[in-house]
Structure formats: structure tokens, C-alpha cells
Amino acid sequence: MTAVRLKKVVKKYGDVGAVHGIDLELQDGKFTVLVGPSGCGKTTTLRMIAGLETVTDGHIFIGDLDVTDLEPKDRDVSMVFQNYALYPHLTVAENIAFPLMARGAKRADIQGRIDEVAAALEITPLLGRKPKELSGGQQQRVAIGRAIIRQPKVFLFDEPLSNLDAKLRVEMRTELLRLQRQLGTTAVYVTHDQEEAMTLSDVMVVMRDGVICQQGRPVDVYEQPVDTFVASFVGSPRMNLIKGVIDHGAFTFAGGVGIEITTSHFGETTLGVRPEDVILSVGGDEGFAGVVEIIELLGPRAIVTLKARGTSLTAVVEASGLSGITEGAGVRVRFRESKLHLFGVDGRRL
């Protein structure tokens, strides 16, 4: 069943286009993440699904219902905002209860439900407090509580974890996922953090400048990026993109020795290779020569930045394999053959 469908949805502010006709089908019960750099239209799209922004052209369906012209309150969605948007003058319990009370429920009747939700989010002791007395993480839980109390058709998340510190962010990510799986509700999540997108999504939608570049399972987007933008956006550290020429089965760049490539294409090409597929060795004459510039140790791994033939490359090396690799040292560089990506002059995958 398709839970949410966008058909040729366009959003313009005056003459300025923010979203240029996107088609999206979200599967029921799945966690879909809209990801992209700022200004790509992901938040606008989310807000259109919520009904907080009007749709310039196109249709939005939730279930079988055309909700394009409906007010947010008639769409049966709930939303968690980046800044939590808690009602500052209400207690935690009243905040959570608000969606039900606004529709006419009596506090006494729903007290049980409030307690249930509070227990699920482990915020029961906070029920009598006001938002300003809570930490960021606690406020976030309250916002989530307010979203789930109604059991809506769709959860919408607008970068809810951006305001939390790094560690808390990772913890909350897992919590969110667990909650969503438990409740089985369709979720749409917006973020600019590709790592968050990778870990949370069942379906990842990469957006840029108001259009969808690629959508699919995270693993597919990661391994088969459809163009150089998606390739460099997804994955950290960034994929190495090297401009060069393919001629007679070899890719050459910066006027040096070619790398063997099996492809029927020839001409100007961009070669993409992820840092973890860049293999460094000391001594010998494998591959081509490079000089190590900077080593950043991350615990179990290290990010090595090196220069080869005037081109900067990044490699990820296991900490155990760092012997001989020091800043300023000469190394031999080769790429893992099965993990090469080729992109044409227009940036698209070949």
C-alpha cells in the first residue's frame, strides 16, 4: 500500500521555484529519509506533506485521499520540529495531551494514554515540568510523545536531532528507529546529515535544487550513485573524484600512467573511488606514487590525505596497517578494481 504519494508537486515562492515537480511514493510502514544540502527543497517538501506550505501545482495523497487542499489538522499527520516547538506555557503532560485535547478529548479520559506514551519514552518523572526546565534531549522526547499520542497515518520529522550534541544524536537515532519499528507507522524524515540518512532510512531520497537525484535503499545509493553529486554527498569521508581521460581501456589523469579499466567508453571521464577503496602500500612499485600530507587518527581507522601527480586524494587506512605511512612519506597508491565508479562529462553514471 502506498502511504504517501506526491505527484508532480511544484512549489514556487512568487517567481522563485523551490521544488520543481517531484514524484514520490512512500511505502506504508517504511522509514523514508529526504536528504540533501540546504536549499534543496527537502524541508519544503516535508512541510507540503504536512500542509504547512501550500502546493503551487501537483497533488499529494495520503492513503487514497487527495489532501492537497486540506488543512494540516485534517490530514491525520503529526510532526516533530527541529526546535521541538513545545508549548512553553504548558507542562509536559499538557504538551503531550494537546493534540487529543484540541480535538475535544477530556483530560481524565486520556490520562491513561498520556502515561503510556510517557512510559514508552521514559519521561514519566517529567510530566509536571515546563519545557524550559528540560534538557534538549528531554524536550525532544516530549515532542516525539506529542507526535505519537494520536497514532496518525504518517510521522513527519524536520531535522529533529540537529540541535542535540553529537553523542545524544546517535543515541536518539537508535531510539527513533526502535519506536518507529514498534509502532509500524510510515515516517518521513528530513536531514542534511547523510550519515543520519544512511543509518535511519529504509528508503533514501537524495534531493538537490528542488529535484530528486536518486532514491532507493541506502546500500544501493551508496554503491551505485547515479551522478557525481550523489556520489560525493553520500559517504564520509567524501568519495575521491578524479577527472581524466579513458583511452584504449586505460584511465589516465594528470598525464601519468593509466589505470586499467574495463569499459567501452572513452573520452573525458570522472573516476570515482571511495577512500576505503584506496589502498596504500609502502615500497614496491604497485600502482602509482603519492606523498602523504596529513594523517588524522580516528581510533580504529585513520584518514590519510595524500597528493599524487598534483591531485589530492583521501584514503581510509586501518590503524593496524599504518606502519611506514607517516606524514611526508612516499607511498604507492592503487584502487580496488571492483569498486570503481565512472561518470561522464555531464556527471552522470556510465
Binding site: 505527484k7 501550500t54 502546493v55 503551487t56 501545482d57 497533488h59 495523497f61 487514497d64 487527495d66 492537497t68 487542499d69 488543512e71
Partner: protein, 282 residues
Amino acid sequence: MTTLVVPRARRTKSFNPWGHAGSLLLVVAGLVVLLPFLWVLLGSFKTGSQLNDPTLIVFRPNLANWRDVISSGILQAAGRSALVGVITVSISIVVGSMGAYSISRYKTGGSATRFGILAAQVLPPAVLVFPFLDMAFRLRLNDTLAAVVIAHLSFVMPVVTWFLIGFFDAAPKEIEEQAMVDGLSRFAAFRKVVLPQVAPGMGASAIFGFVLSWNDLFYALILAPGNAATLPVRIAGFNTFRGVELGSMCAAILVSIVPVLIASFFIQRRLVRGISGGAVKF
């Protein structure tokens, strides 16, 4: 099941009764504000007999009232009001900005000063006017503008200072600290770096203070009722039941209103920003 999708050119919004009621309210409010002014405007051009018919709208305008009013010395009274206003505001701004800076940056006097300034703004004039009157008698300043200026200072200076404290609070400290590190003395930093920043706010406060002084009747009536009458006092003098004088009164009212209307146009935007931004923090 497929839903028929018909491309739409324009999106129709659901009928929002509140929006329309709001616009209607604003129109009504606008009319309520406008009509008295219009009535007075019309009245100023009417002759005595025309004035007996309050709903007369179309007629040949007559300038007799305006001539009477202008020759009655109302412009001199306006001039005196302006003089008092300018002097009061100038003193208030100079003294007030220095004091406000001290209070904002150094918390001089703590809560007590802020309280004092607030309290001074709202003191009932009835309290201070009698001492002023007695002092004026003793110093032989009764019925002079000097007495009025001092009385006006008692409420204009606190208001101006109050606003300025808010504006200084809103100006970032780092900039003058940078200036001092760069070699300016504290007073020079105040003059050359901080004042330019709050200049718009100072302008708005000055105009606001001027309007307060311009509009005062109570102090001026008691302290300078005769030869040194300011504009509101002169206008009060047009108070009469006789229809013949009504026209001149209308003209007099307009003379006092017009400068203030112009001033208010300029400052109202600043005031809103000032109030929501820094002047009176809620």
C-alpha cells in the same frame, strides 16, 4: 483504484471567515479614526451659519476661520511649544544618553535606578505641579517658559532615558570593547562607536519625547497660563459654546494636530521595532 488527476492552474483556498472579518475590522477602525479629523477639517472652512448644520459636506470653503486663528497668536503659541519641546528633548537626550549608557553597561545603581526611572515616568502630574508652582512663584518664574521646561523635564527625561537604556542594552558590547582595545578612551568609544549605533533609536525617542512635551496641557496650564501660553493652553482657550467660534476652534485644532501627525508617521515603525526589540522588554 485510480484517482483522476486533473491539472489545476490555481489552487482554491478554503473560505477563511476570520481573515475577512479582520479586514472588515481594519476598515471600520480606519473610518472611526478618519471621520473626526474630516469633520474638523470641514468645520474649519465653514462660516458661522454653515456650522449650524453639522451634516453639511459640500460647500464653498471659507478661509475666515483660518485668518482669525492665525492672527490670534496661535502660531506664536505653537512656536513656544516647539521651543519648550526642543529644549526639553535636547537636554533629555544629552543627559539621558550618558546616564542610560552608565546604567546599561555598568548597572549603576542596580534595580533601584531602573525602578526610579520607571516610577518617574508614571508619576501623576498632580503631585509635582504644586511644588513647581510654588518654586516658580519664589523664583519669579511664574508664567514663564522656563518653568514649563523644568516641569516637562520631569517626565520627558525619564521616558527618553528608559528607551535609551533599552537601545543600549541591545547594542553589542563587543564593538566598543574592540574600540577601547584599539586605543579609544571610554568616553571617545561612547561617542564615536556606541552613539552611532543607537542613533536611530535616539531619533525615535527624541521625537516621542517631543510629542509628549508638545501635547502637555496640565503643567503648561498651571505654570504658564497667560503670556507664555503654549499651544495646548491656547487651544483650550478656544473652548466655547458659541457656534461662531467653533470654526476657529476647528482650525486651531488642525494647527496642533498636523505637525504631530507628520512626526508620528516617521517614528511609528521605529517604535514598534524598538518596543519589541529592546526598549520595553516584556
